[in-house]
Symmetry: C2
Subunit: 380 residues, 2 copies
């Protein structure tokens, strides 16, 4: 949870970057961007809530919010950092309230509001109504500004990722309690969801249990399929900790007995080798796409290239998917503090899939693994 000093610092860094991009005000919506800046967010319902950060005076940021939400911000880092709260009541026009707060701030600074950067996550309806309320307002996405800020994790953020990584590792280590032949994927997934919360997640955000042929679809979740002896089972799970930082880790297990696909052991070993090759390639200055390439080369050389149908990874933090993306074409150079998944996979349609996924943080010399549960083949 950021302190008021963190909030002040992050608002200032956002304003510096926005000024260089020709922006007058940044409008931040409930969600990960707001949580990052002020350490607190709210569910984004139909009532407009926005943090307006004037680039010329970030310490005069204004939070527009429904009156009934005001209490939830008492004593928050935002309040301590001096954010001003402007509330509106059911029945009032929140867009007019927002614009008049912006105009007041601009006039006080001897400026005018011309160009605003709008949070990528803001629901379209709100953006439409704001544009309608002032047609001459120039609006553009704030995503790049925000991701530049959020991409390099500060030490306290790395601690959060390590702690939630350890929590998901504890769940994987308990897989034998739940995963066995004769149960449905949904039954296993329900038990895992409960364990995610028991082990320290705020919620079970996603629980993929993909057995047998279902594993060949990378984003299959869980279904009524009864798991059989000899099935490979992809278990890809994660969620946020109380501070909002996410875990995301995949292991592919084999259910004991039956007659496993004769190719499975070889494919599992190959994915494991590819995953470690990518982890080993991580260092400051390496490009994001070079990490993808390191994993892909191993799989292509073994003749399975056409079955590795996803990118190798995605950034992670306050969102499960964020920058940087570990994908061909992303020439961005890695820097210390960047956090992302490394999750190569091989997906054989109609048969099975194998995916192994860890979160890493770029350190001065290489990858620091946030996950340490065994990646070798585990028969349960």
């Amino acid at each position: 949870m950021p302190t008021a000093a963190t909030t002040t610092d992050r608002l200032r860094r956002l304003a510096d970057a926005a000024r260089d991009a020709g922006i007058d005000v940044v409008l931040v919506a409930p969600g990960p961007d707001l949580a990052y800046l002020v350490g607190h967010s709210v569910p984004s319902h139909e009532r407009l809530t926005l943090l307006a950060v004037p680039v010329s005076a970030p310490h005069e940021a204004v939070m527009i919010l429904p009156a009934l939400e005001r209490g939830g911000w008492e004593g928050s880092p935002a309040e301590v950092a001096g954010v001003r709260f402007v509330t509106w009541l059911d029945g009032e026009d929140p867009y007019a309230v927002l614009l008049s707060a912006l105009d007041a701030g601009a006039t006080a600074a001897g400026a005018a509001i011309g160009t605003v950067a709008v949070d990528d996550h803001l629901p379209y309806l709100h953006a439409f109504r704001l544009q309608q309320a002032r047609p001459e307002l120039r609006m553009r996405p704030a995503g790049e500004l925000m991701s530049e800020l959020r991409m390099r994790k500060q030490p306290a953020e790395v601690d959060e990722l390590a702690s939630v990584g350890a929590a998901i590792d504890r769940v994987h280590r308990r897989i034998g309690e739940w995963l066995r032949a004769g149960r449905t994927e949904n039954e296993v997934a329900a038990d895992i969801a409960a364990a995610l919360v028991e082990e320290g997640h705020r919620t079970a955000d996603f629980v993929i249990v993909a057995s047998g042929p279902n594993g060949a679809s990378p984003h299959h979740e869980a279904a009524d399929r009864v798991i059989r002896a000899g099935d490979p089972v992809v278990v890809d799970i994660g969620g946020p900790n109380p501070a909002g930082y996410n875990s995301d880790s995949t292991r592919t297990y084999l259910v004991a007995g039956g007659e496993p696909d004769p190719e499975f052991a070889r494919v599992h070993e190959l994915v494991r080798t590819a995953q470690r090759a990518a982890v080993d390639a991580v260092r400051p200055g390496a490009t994001a796409e070079s990490i993808d390439r390191a994993a892909r080369e191993v799989i292509e050389q073994a003749g399975y290239g056409e079955y590795f149908i996803t990118r190798t990874g995605h950034g992670i933090g306050l969102e499960v998917h964020e920058h940087p993306y570990i994908v061909a074409g992303n020439t961005r150079q890695l820097e210390p503090g960047m956090a992302f998944s490394i999750e190569p996979g091989i997906y054989l349609p109609g048969r099975f899939g194998v995916r192994i996924e860890d979160i890493v943080v770029v350190g001065d010399d290489g990858a620091r693994l946030m996950n340490t549960s065994p990646i070798g083949l585990l028969v349960v």
Copy 2:
């Protein structure tokens, strides 16, 4: 879960309404609108996923989605109903893929795409990029079209609301297992969250445990405050069932012992009376604002009007908050099948709050209650 026939029917009704509104295509984003139409949604990550419904030919609806998500839709009602799937790969421009699918459909129908209705929930970034890809496209919010469809629940939807209502009632009936002096709000909330899932919710979407003075803030969630003997405690909880329909029910309990605020019992009784007055006022043809008025009059006449700082309720279904809103100024007439909360409250700053909330569905003769746990004062 809608069947293919439900999907076909809902797409047709959406197209009929959109045609009357001068729309050529409706773009539906992951979330409640998509779940309503095709019985299946996906998490809305950064990759563009949209259902495009051409008004002239709703049976030719096209789903634009990332290739790796295609597997999750196999055998879905959308596929059975004939929705066409157009996939794009990481690295491709999904907006170009979307526009060319739209143009192909329009050309086949001898028309052109001029005006699109865009899902209220679509993240701003996607709307911005689509507009950028075709500046002459006229875009407007689809929210009203969708809410007109979703507002009147069909019998199968009422069954879902009744079933998830019974699940949240079971949690409230177990409150004595967790709520007692000496525990923090957060500890109690964690236990309740686990019970929500045990009793049949897919996730614990919100768990408000607001003790003593924290109860005076309607949207306080839960904090480190230690609950004391004699505290009133507002417990407002809910979440989606596996089909996506939400529960939302509030009870205000009193912790045994200590010295309760001398006004508490009277205020609790007053809120209870107001809540039942509003429930009794529900019938087809009554306006939404008349239900608000029925509750507010009871509280105003007792001299507490200024402490009833919220609207009386909100619609509920695939979203926790949706139309119709039970609020002054909403002259919409109630119709059979409309579902909403009735949740008057009294909030005394620095002291405590009381809120009592049930979900009702409008029946032919009056309200059908989805919640039946006792609303009388329970001392735990």
